[in-house]
Symmetry: C2
Subunit: 351 residues, 2 copies
């Protein structure tokens, strides 16, 4: 059985580590030392129980904050938030090399950052790839217990460069719980993450309600009203224009949602209202503007999409407006501090 390292200590990381361990894979769970609190109990018990959509129990080979532990892993699954990517990359880089495979979930253009960590060239014989999502919808219920609400039917993945995607999927598929479908390249993976469309305008256009605090609200059903959907659709057209300039035929957020959830709708607003996963429950809004719907999705998705567009000469005025307002709210200029992909090598993604 292939030796696996799972990087991260949150919901998705623990679910995947436990699931693969339950199938007999030797799994090392690595968490950044700064977030060691996430794995305190696991360091002792090394056992993860999955409940809900998956009923299984796995015993991990190792639970650690020592980056050298990834040296022997054949496959590395990275499930920490985007803002942790750079810090983790610089810790583990000395221990990466030939024969290893690394999958970022969600990638959010992180493989390009990893390449920069290595001075613009990944190690010989090493393959990095990205997916736009994680295998499970899940939540840690208690230490060592993860409740899995659902598991994806498939996930898209692309290697950097894209010429390695077939090799990558062939190498990891028997050690991954969900079928991986090849995507054109890592840019298409980042551009396909519709979180940026669904989350960012809704946060900003419900700021007063999120902050005034009296009464949480239904983020999708009550937050994504006509004007909010109009802004989403304008941003979505900009995102698809960037894709088109790159030769990618991206699905609109509405069509992507219809495909993912097997639902119908005449408009984005109607499609959202028809989505039970979004609108079938009560109040689910964030309680503050310091939430990853903005703090992750703006700097790690909207900013790189805007930067790619700028490089290609595609105007993204609505996307830029949302980035600017999110920056004022955060007190931080995301166009400077976000994932600007400064030395962007767009040609290099295809190989």
């Amino acid at each position: 059985m292939k030796r696996i390292a799972v990087l991260g200590g949150g919901n998705g990381a623990q679910a995947l580590a436990g699931h693969l361990a339950s199938k007999g894979f030797p799994v090392t769970l690595f968490e950044h030392p700064e977030f060691r609190r996430n794995i305190f109990r696991l360091e002792e018990t090394k056992t993860i129980e999955l409940t809900g959509a998956i009923e299984a129990r796995g015993t991990l080979a190792e639970v650690t904050t020592d980056p050298a532990a990834v040296r022997d892993a054949e496959i590395l699954y990275f499930l920490a938030p985007s803002f942790a990517q750079e810090a983790v990359f610089s810790l583990i880089a000395p221990f990466l090399g030939r024969g290893q495979r690394l999958l970022l979930m969600p990638g959010n253009f992180g493989s390009l950052v990893l390449k920069e960590t290595f001075g613009g060239r990944l190690p010989e014989g090493f393959l990095a790839a990205e997916s736009d999502t994680m295998p499970y919808a899940c939540r840690i219920e208690a230490p060592g217990v993860v409740n899995v609400w659902g598991i994806k039917n498939f996930m898209a993945a692309a290697a950097l460069p894209a010429s390695g995607t077939g090799d990558f999927i062939a190498s990891v598929q028997d050690a991954f719980p969900v079928p991986l479908k090849p995507a054109p390249n890592v840019l298409s993976i980042g551009l396909s993450n519709t979180n940026m469309i669904l989350h960012c305008p809704t946060m900003i256009m419900n700021a007063g309600r999120i902050e005034s605090g009296n009464g949480r609200f239904r983020f999708y059903a009550e937050g994504m009203t006509d004007s909010v959907c109009a802004v989403m659709e304008a941003m979505d057209r900009e995102r698809m224009a960037v894709g088109k300039a790159l030769g990618l035929n991206l699905l609109s957020t509405m069509d992507d949602m219809k495909e993912l959830y097997s639902i119908n709708g005449e408009s984005l607003r109607e499609t959202i209202l028809n989505n039970g996963a979004y609108c079938g429950h009560g109040a689910d809004s964030p309680a503050s503007m310091k939430y990853r719907y903005l703090t992750e999705d703006v700097p790690y998705l909207l900013v790189p999409v805007f930067e790619i567009g700028k490089k290609l000469g595609i105007p993204l005025p609505v996307t830029e407006s949302i980035i600017r307002l999110a920056s004022v709210i955060a007190g931080e200029d995301y166009l400077v501090t976000g994932r600007t992909l400064g030395g962007l090598d767009l040609d290099g993604v295809n190989g």
Copy 2:
């Protein structure tokens, strides 16, 4: 007594017409033919009763939709919304000339538009001026009855060109209910209208709540939260930078509010919460995004401020972001359809 024409048929226009008529001035009330419904009853009764802060009754000399009626007026007070200015200007222009005085309330850069109506040069001996507000806070309660909640202690005014401001105020002051204080020029009048700061971000950053409809909210107290105030303050700094480049020392929106309402506060948010006129009552939010807080304040205030800034080389990225989102919401590009002041003659404002 000077002959007066009041242009407009709404709350402010009827209050001023009734008040001046009650003091014995011969007043003609002119409404655009398209809005004749506003004055149906008045055409018969010609009588306006003021209640509340003013108890008075005035009988008008004339109530009409015939623009030729303004020919004999010595003073014209214009109190229709900004979006009606151009239409009314083109109706009345043939009847304007030497000796007449016209005051726009609020001006919102309308005198520059009037000048364009005359091909870039106002008639010889004719003076136009602007104020940033109206004399009364009031509401029409029933046909011919206006409830006056309050009357301003003073109003700022400036003529176009500013060299005529002293002459203008001297000519109209005895036929105006509130002391007029000279402002540097009409640009300072438009730039001082803080409605654009208070209204526009609050509308956009409460869009979900305005449109989801379950429960109106307190626009100032609950809508102007920390993030909304952060965006207001960023826009306010841009507005003041434009003023500074024009040699104008504009008050911040917070300081303006403190002066107008005699209140204190350590921050904009706190000052708003301390303002009884804003926060001393129940739900007062607009029920839709098609409301003048956006449809008037964006195209007639934010757009010209942005255009003036662009001409002066002052960046206004936050203002531009709000304009762009408001444009998406309205389905109309306000940077094209708004008051862009295309042939802007900034030097001409001073004389």
